[in-house]
């Protein structure tokens, strides 16, 4: 359109290399990109594609092993690669600001928030009187939407929540009034609701200050919400660069198309996400949503409660009780997939651990296949354990680094005394490896030789080794890249059909839920607030919290009508120690009434099998 305006940032043929012992690693390979003043460029890519290295190179912050071996970074007409360290330092902060992924580690824990912000102010502003410097800092904090900025100014980072820390980080980055803001995965460590708030804030600040932004992200939704231009990176190279509108309508490069195909969504239910690998069409019975309610449930959880007694801080202070899980009930039919969703710390993992009796619930019952599990001794539980198995989120801590893969997979068989003698077990390991799509040669190797996705497959094989009926999956894909997540989801779906497995699937990613789950339970502060069939609940939520979650998830579809930010949930989840009275959601609920702060709402039947705990469930138009 207005090609007369010179770009604010122009990167030409940038190449970054890392000196490793014995070799040289090409991290960024001759990339070109430009950012116009006041516009946003989204740099998309999977882990290891060189996104962050590009951002660091622009700031002159490469680690010592890395160096720019070719190319120019032209910022407002000047080549940054020719700048000395001292010259770079004056550009950094005052002309280019940066926000990092991890708000916990990028703030100095022993300095007050206010001091860290005012240090970033431009030098001439810092010379003013103490009072006016403080005022500038407080004003910045309030611009970032931090409540009670006067008080927060004197607090230390550990007194702030994750979202608040990220706001402080942004305040620091913006204190010098930069023309360009580099945001490296600014919301990855945050919950969806907080993420939506931070993205809104960035959008609004950008508009006010006419600031250009380089947004490094792996999330297509975020890119769609925020960007004017999209650049896709893969293995240090740029594979596609286009305007956001064109890109999200019709990606050109096969790699981009493959990533789009890997995005889980409602419309892809029942279809494989990663076509090339699992081309074998599995004969599938039509979606199992039709499970008849007369089926005898496989698992029935009722009134589950798990409390943690916090060690008190003072000597004579009373021990505080943390309600991690409070009165959770659900039941699960054989072959079904129940998704549990909710923000971090709402008690999802605790539900899983207490169903497995790895944490003893304080009250409630867990009935598996007509057998009550609570109150049994470890010895009594041992033979039952083979029926319930678990797969974890972190592929790095879920496998013992000192054991060979074959020993890892055999562990359960040995403990459960199944699988026959050694050679029969080895035989079964081969079979399992094949089932999860790994080569048999993996057997003798150690976990560190595998990638995240392969480790997750090993974890699944380990759980399947004892032929469980129920598999509890605690965020099995949230540490993985998009395309790897697609493969794991495909694998899980395949295994479910092959072995008739029942899943409890914990996640915070709603697109995975709508793609994968039959039924959904939404948790808030230790309680299930809404439960129902996945499609119905995702399209017609009845609880205000569910609706807020759905709105907060950055969707690709709304890319066209960018502009006015949608009203998002305010604030952050309260602490499970001091829960609000009545409906725990009432301080954040937009339609709360006086009664909401008095009584905890009973479950209301919305439709068959669909319940919500709300005094005023949303009217959902029936379609």
């Amino acid at each position: 359109m207005n090609s007369v305006v010179p770009p604010l940032l122009d990167i030409r043929g940038l190449t970054v290399e890392f000196v490793m012992p014995g070799e040289i690693l090409l991290a960024v390979d001759q990339i070109n990109m430009t950012i116009q003043p006041g516009k946003t460029l989204a740099l998309l890519g999977e882990s290891g594609s060189g996104k962050s290295v590009t951002a660091l190179a622009m700031m002159g912050l490469l680690p010592t092993a890395g160096f720019i071996s070719a190319g120019d970074i032209i910022f407002d007409g000047a080549d940054l690669t020719s700048y000395s360290n001292a010259a770079m330092r004056s550009v950094r902060g005052s002309r280019i600001g940066m926000v990092f992924q991890e708000p916990m580690t990028s703030l100095d824990p022993v300095m007050t928030v206010g001091k860290q912000i005012t240090e970033a102010l431009p030098r001439e502003n810092r010379r003013a009187s103490r009072k006016s410097v403080r005022e500038q800092g407080v004003q910045l904090l309030s611009q970032m939407g931090i409540p009670e900025p006067q008080r927060r100014f004197d607090e230390f980072p550990h007194q702030l929540s994750g979202g608040m820390k990220q706001r402080v980080m942004i305040a620091i980055a913006l204190a010098g009034e930069p023309e360009l803001l580099i945001a490296d995965e600014p919301t990855t460590a945050l919950d969806v609701t907080t993420q939506a708030q931070i993205l809104d804030l960035l959008k609004q600040l950008q508009k006010e200050r006419n600031m250009a932004m380089l947004l490094v992200t792996h999330d297509f939704g975020i890119a769609a919400q925020m960007a004017d231009q999209v650049t896709v990176m893969r293995r240090g190279q740029i594979v596609e660069s286009a305007s956001a509108q064109d890109f999200f309508q019709a990606p050109q490069h096969p790699y981009s198309q493959q990533l789009f195909a890997a995005l889980p969504s409602l419309s892809k239910r029942g279809k494989p996400l990663f076509e090339s690998l699992y081309a074998i069409p599995v004969a599938q019975p039509e979606s199992s949503e039709t499970t008849t309610p007369t089926d005898k449930p496989l698992l029935e959880v009722s009134g589950l409660q798990v409390l943690f007694k916090q060690r008190s801080a003072g000597l004579f202070r009373e021990r505080e009780t943390l309600y991690a899980v409070d009165g959770v009930s659900f039941s699960l039919n054989p072959g079904e997939t129940l998704a549990i969703v909710g923000e971090s710390g709402c008690g999802k993992s605790t539900v899983i651990k207490s169903v497995l009796q790895l944490l003893r619930p304080d009250s409630g019952s867990v009935v598996f296949d007509d057998i009550e599990l609570t109150g049994r001794s470890q010895r009594q539980l041992r033979p039952l354990r083979r029926n319930l198995q678990v797969v974890f989120q972190d592929p790095y801590s879920s496998l013992n680094p000192r054991m060979r893969v074959t020993d890892i997979i055999q562990e359960g068989m040995i403990a459960q005394k199944i699988g026959g003698n050694r050679s029969q077990r080895e035989e079964r390991v081969n079979q399992l490896l094949e089932d999860v799509g790994l080569d048999i040669s993996a057997r003798e190797r150690y976990p560190h030789e595998f990638s995240g996705g392969q480790r997750q497959r090993i974890g699944i094989a380990r759980a399947l080794a004892v032929e469980p009926q129920l598999l509890l999956l605690d965020e099995p894909t949230s540490a993985l890249d998009l395309s790897v997540q697609a493969q794991i989801l495909d694998l899980l779906r395949q295994l479910q059909h092959a072995h008739g497995l029942t899943y409890i699937f914990v996640t915070h990613d709603l697109s995975v839920v709508e793609y994968f789950a039959d039924r959904v339970a939404v948790m808030y502060l230790g309680r299930i607030v809404e439960e129902g069939p996945a499609v119905e609940l995702m399209t017609r939520p009845a609880h205000p919290y569910t609706q807020a979650l759905l709105l907060a998830a950055p969707a690709i579809e709304v890319a066209q009508e960018k502009g006015e930010p949608t009203p998002h949930l305010l604030g952050e989840p309260p602490s499970p120690i001091h829960r609000p009275s009545g409906c725990h959601f009432h301080p954040r609920c937009f339609q709360a009434q006086p009664i909401c702060s008095l009584d905890y709402p009973q479950a209301v039947e919305i439709s068959i099998q669909h319940r919500a705990n709300c005094h005023f469930p949303l009217e959902t138009e029936t379609s």
Binding site: E23, R386, F392, Q393, R402, R462
Partner: protein, 473 residues
Amino acid sequence: MLGQPALLISDYLIWSICLIGGISLAIGLRNPLQRQRWRMILSTPSAMASAIILLTYLAIALLDSVHFRPLLPQDEATTNGSIEANSEQPNSTVTYAASEISLLDLLLSNIRKAEERSYSAPLAIYAFSKESLVTAAGTTRAYPRLLYGGADLENPALHRSDIVNRTLTGLGLSLILVIPIFLLFRRRSRRSPTLSAGNQTPAWRTAFMTIAGLLIIGSVATQLADHYHLLGTEKVGQDVLYLGLKSIRTGVLIGALTLLIMLPLALVLGTAAGYFGGWIDDAVQYLYTTLSSIPGVLLIAAAVLSVNLYLDQNLSEVTSLHQRADLRLLLLTGILGLTGWIGLCRLLRAESLKLRELDYVTAARAFGVVDARILIRHLLPNLGHIVLITIVIDFSGLVLAEAVLSYVGVGVDPSMISWGNMINSARLELAREPLVWWSLATAFIFMFTLVLCANLFADAVRDAFDPRLRGKQ
């Protein structure tokens, strides 16, 4: 047959420690990750050199840990009759010495038996102090010739050139060994791929230089020690080089045995406290906070003194001098071990606390794997690096502790040869005029080399095994 084997308790212990250490190393090396880490350690030149020197110390200590009672040379009358009898029924007529000697003693027979009357300086042929000599001319005060040191040197004027000659002979002889080893190493380092593996190839050059250096020193020392007291003699005329070499066993024993005692304690208590938590944790924490609030030296001194009193009263007539010294040494290591496990236990408790929350432990619990097996399969192997790092760091500390304790008088038995005792007796020697410096210097050099090598090796081990350090690279 050299004599009747008479292994001391500490002999058994030191050999079994070596066996345990060797086996755990072999098991550890089956994991490729571990192999890579060890290769990384040996690729550090300083660590490679230290490892070779430490192994030399260990070899000397092991040689010194095979004790036996030597055959007594018998007088003519019995010998004639007993030679035939000897082969048929050995026990009937053969007599053995009452006190044990070790293989090292046998190797060092020359310098062990070459006892002078008192002090003599390194490489001297005259005694250190004047004595009254009765000659044909009457009684004069002069420096007498030594009984052994340079005894076969007829013309004292040739003293200097004799030393030079012998040094050169030693150098020449060592070349016979050094050259083939050099060729071997050159083939070795040519064959191993250098570029692709980066800096992970073992530091062969350093290894060769260290071995060559040791060989040259050893060969020259042998040549000289055969005819002189290379490092002089001490108060009662014993060869100081011999004392220095014999002290190695004491130092290594103190280090290794103490570790053997503190390791199980720290491992069992630390992991149990961390893994099970609850009252076990409370009990263990109570125990070590109480212990660590008592000043360490005081505790050791009190324990050593009371144990010694008990030994003197109850065991004096039952055992030989050697065995008593050995018992006292064992008790000292026991006491050091009982006070030394706290630091390691704290580390292990903290690490177990962290490990038990890891997903693979949870997965094992979800399989119904019993606690003992989880501890053995999942916790212990992942604590290995902490144990290893602590062992190599603590080892040198313990060697130094022995010296300090013996100096203060609560260390090993005064009859036992140790660096601490050597330093202790050097107290008086340093007050003499002219100065007798060689005992102290010998003890210092031997101990310094051991401690320095242990520390350098510990640094490399920590760099290779400590995950926190590696994150920073």
